[in-house]
Amino acid sequence: MRWVNRHARRGDRIFLGALPILLLVLLYLFLAAQRHAANPMDKILPLPGSMADAMSVLLFQKDQLSGQFVFWADTLASLQRLGIGLGIATLSALAVGLVLGVLPPVRATFGPLVTAIAVIPPIALLPILFIALGLGETAKVALIVIGVAPVMMRDIAAYVAGLPREQIVKAQTLGASSWQIMIRVALPQAMPRLLHAMRLSLGPAWVFLISAEAIASDVGLGYRIFLVRRYLAMDVIIPYVAWIAILAILMDAALTVASRRLYPWAHGASH
């Protein structure tokens, strides 16, 4: 049977998907053990034991000063920023993408601007960003939005502009105005693509979140990572990064399921 036609069963799929990740973990353990054999004090690739020790403090002991469990407080703060940032980015990407995609004059006017904003690296302009928006939550959320939204906008705009011309023509013969085409033809068809764009943006969004938290913050997963980085405390950094990966993968899976549930017409095989 050709490989293109081999579809693994559900149970097998989970096993297959976990396999390379497990192998990587094993490779890590091997390398870490090797480094520790050479230098028992090695900090760069800590062994699971020291990670567990370091994390248990953050997980289960209340911080005396703030009265919070550090790990959970970090997680909450970061998720909140990420959620707001990604939410704003998604909504603005949808709105701008639709308008740019459907209306050629608007595309001609604002397309180049969106491109320019998309390619300007926001971290190069951090001083201006922080000066304009202060050092509070706004600036951190804004960095995520500025970092992630333009790419999403361009993607949605390109997708909408690429909808079959027949559909737009058809809608017009059925009496649809530009606005009605936007909300009834382009919007619903852009939704699955928007969820896909969100999935692809999860990685960059975390990067920008962490960059923002690295610069001005006093709580958050990125803050903690950059705080302990001064001491090369990889026994905290690696579990934190793994935790970020788990959170992101869960969000990714949730978005996939949501797309299948909400827009079955976009996923069923057509013939």
Partner: protein, 337 residues
């Protein structure tokens, strides 16, 4: 909320920025322990002590007017806000680095061995200054080494690479790298005591209009420092709390303190600020900064004026933008707060 250049007006809410460094940890501790509130209430004002994770960004934000005061080294106070035309007053000279900054080499224990190496450091910072002073003492020219700009957050990781053999850094990064096998410290700020100063600078105009701010800050500082110097359980708890705030273990933090010369006594601070040695130090620092092009577009090192206690000035007296102001420390020394 404030404009770019806060006009000399009376206000009662102020923001002070700080970043993590052994000599500045009293600030967040004072905030948490209620010392800030206590003194601010006394002077009828409100002080927000705001952490900025990235040191340079904290100074940039101060320069931009988002903070009324910031913790900063003498060199950065000169090259960033002062050179940028922001009139700043150093009202607290908290400590000088007495081994908190150092040059490390892998596989060599002589500073001369640095010749021809790639040196990883935060360029244009006190590390760069320390390197220049070190090369000077070893009879080397600045061109004998090649510098690679390395962000302070990543310098420990970078030094883990087999490629990196020479590094200049400050604590806590310094102590982490020093602990690695085969690494030795070949030069440290202990060899140039009093040249790397850690200050609290405040916008001069704001200070003029609100002298209470200066009083409150000085009072907070010396109460906190006194507390942390105590060798009893209370002092230990305070230091442990500061360690935690810095993300360090208590032992590591004690270690860092041991290479920090804290002016716990305001009298000592006043003396150091008024001493002619400070003028000499600042001359060296500004000459170094000018040679590195840090005084943008200026034709000489005199372009930025520095004022010292007793009316002495260095550089252009018409354009003084950095003032060492001992008056508030003096009030503390005299117990008048």
């Amino acid at each position: 909320s404030q404009g770019p250049d806060p006009k000399a007006e009376q206000r009662n809410e102020f923001n002070i920025g700080w970043s993590i460094y052994a000599g500045w940890m009293p600030w967040p501790y004072a905030q948490q322990a209620g010392i800030v509130k206590k003194w601010a209430d006394k002077y009828g004002i409100k002080i927000n002590v705001v952490q900025v994770n990235d040191y340079v960004e904290s100074i940039n934000q101060y320069t931009a007017g988002k903070f009324d005061g910031v913790t900063v080294t003498n060199m950065d106070a000169l090259t960033i806000p002062a050179a940028g035309g922001k009139d700043s007053s150093a009202i607290i000279v908290g400590d000088y680095s007495n081994g908190n900054d150092g040059i490390l080499l892998k596989g060599a224990n002589q500073l001369r061995a640095i010749k021809g190496q790639q040196v990883y450091l935060v360029e244009l910072s006190v590390s760069h200054y320390l390197l220049a002073r070190g090369l000077e003492t070893a009879g080397l020219k600045p061109t004998d080494v090649k510098t690679v700009n390395t962000s302070d957050a990543d310098i420990v990781g970078a030094f883990g690479s087999p490629q990196a053999k020479a590094v200049v850094a400050w604590n806590p990064q310094l102590s982490v790298m020093k602990a690695q096998p085969g690494v030795s410290e070949v030069f440290s700020s202990a060899q140039i005591p009093g040249e790397i100063l850690d200050l609290l600078v405040v916008d001069t105009a704001t200070l003029k209009a609100n002298p209470n701010l200066g009083k409150a800050l000085t009072a907070i500082w010396y109460e906190t420092v006194a507390l942390m110097q105590r060798q009893d359980a209370q002092g230990k708890a305070a230091r442990a709390a500061m360690a935690k705030l810095a993300g360090a273990t208590p032992e590591s933090f004690e270690n860092q303190l041991s290479t920090t010369h804290l002016y716990t006594d305001p009298k000592a601070a006043v003396t150091a600020t008024s001493a002619p040695a400070l003028v000499k130090t600042m001359t060296q620092v500004r000459d170094f900064s000018f040679s590195k092009g840090l005084f943008k577009g200026a034709s000489s090192a005199d372009a930025v004026g520095i004022a010292f206690p007793g009316g002495k000035t260095l550089g252009d007296p018409q354009r003084v933008t950095l003032r060492f102001d001992e008056s508030f420390m003096k009030l503390a020394a005299d117990g008048k707060l």
